[in-house]
């Protein structure tokens, strides 16, 4: 990551998880994830999801799984809010905004306000739940890494009986 994304996004909610790879996922998985995330929220269209996907996977992070991790940390709502805000700001800067666009903007601003309210209400428990889930996954990962590490040391380190004996007994 080049740092611009973090600068734009602000401080992550769970900085200890940033940069941790939980697995590579494709755009379809991310889309499903986003749709599930936004299932109960109003005003989140496919267009916005596509914007997030395009933004995250192509321009900023480059790697989809890193992008996915960001969304796994409870930042999702913030990100969506900011994307909407940027769209609004960008549209306002336009010299001759069309009436239709203004209408859209108003609607978007309303959506943003609603979203922010909902996020304010639901972010903390949701984030806590996600953090707990991630902590569990982390524990499992650590356990697996430990197991893999152990077996790796005992299996990979020698290729024959003589090699084993030479390494263990120095003869």
């Amino acid at each position: 990551m080049d740092g611009k994304f973090e600068e734009w996004l602000g401080e992550p909610l769970f900085p200890e998880f940033v940069g941790r790879t939980l697995g590579v996922v494709g755009a379809d998985v991310i889309t499903e994830y986003l749709k599930k995330r936004f299932a109960g929220l109003r005003g989140i269209s496919d267009e916005i999801i596509q914007a997030i996907l395009g933004f995250g996977s192509i321009k900023v992070l480059g790697k989809r799984h890193e992008f996915f991790i960001y969304f796994g940390q409870g930042i999702l709502y913030e990100l969506v809010a900011r994307i909407i805000r940027e769209r609004v700001v960008k549209a306002k800067k336009s010299e001759e905004p069309l009436a239709q666009e203004e209408g859209d903007l108003e609607e978007l601003e309303k959506e943003l306000t609603e979203l922010e309210k909902e996020v304010g209400a639901s972010k903390e428990p949701e984030a806590q739940k996600q953090a707990e889930e991630l902590a569990e996954v982390e524990k499992e990962l650590e356990k697996l890494e430990e197991e893999v590490g152990t077996s790796k040391a005992s299996v990979d380190s020698y290729t024959s009986l003589e090699d084993y004996v030479a390494k263990k007994y120095k003869i």
Binding site: V155, L161, E162, Y164, V165, I171
Partner: protein, 151 residues
């Protein structure tokens, strides 16, 4: 990348009755084999310095065997074709005759290993003829065995 293997280590005690031991009859006044031990396939025997010991008690090749206390015992490691031999221990017969007292056992002076198909040869040079069938043998060590990978 070389294939991976899994190994298991087990205690090793070779005696005159072990399957891998062949008892022989020696010739008087000629250094000749008393026991021949062949290391099995997919195994390496490890003998640790000052930890593992060897006991050889030769008996005469007679109807009523008597213990031989005169002469010299040499233990060799040999390749599968017995073309090359390496001397591992060489001492008077009595040096190897203790079987129980840890303070008197003959411990290996240096760690060594015997790999698959190699021979461990116990030879005797004595004025008397010894019979391996009547004699006693005890060698301790560790056997490292290759086991199939379970995937």
């Amino acid at each position: 990348m070389p294939a991976k293997i899994q190994v298991v280590e087990l205690p090793l005690e070779i005696t005159e009755t072990s399957d891998i031991v062949t008892a022989k009859t020696t010739t008087a006044n000629i250094e000749s084999e008393l026991f021949e031990i062949k290391v099995p396939r997919d195994a390496v025997y490890v003998f640790r310095e000052n930890v593992d010991s060897v006991t050889v008690i030769p008996y005469t090749n007679e109807a009523t065997p008597t213990q031989i206390t005169e002469g010299q015992i040499t233990i060799y490691l040999s390749d599968a074709n017995k073309m090359t031999k390496w001397s591992l221990a060489k001492a008077p017969v009595t040096a190897f005759s203790e079987i129980q007292d840890k303070n008197k056992l003959y411990f290996w002076k240096k760690s060594w290993k015997a790999t698959s198909d190699q021979y461990i040869l116990v030879t005797l040079y004595s004025s008397k003829t010894a019979s391996g069938s009547n004699s006693k043998l005890r060698i301790t060590g560790i056997q490292v065995i290759r086991v199939p990978l379970i995937s």
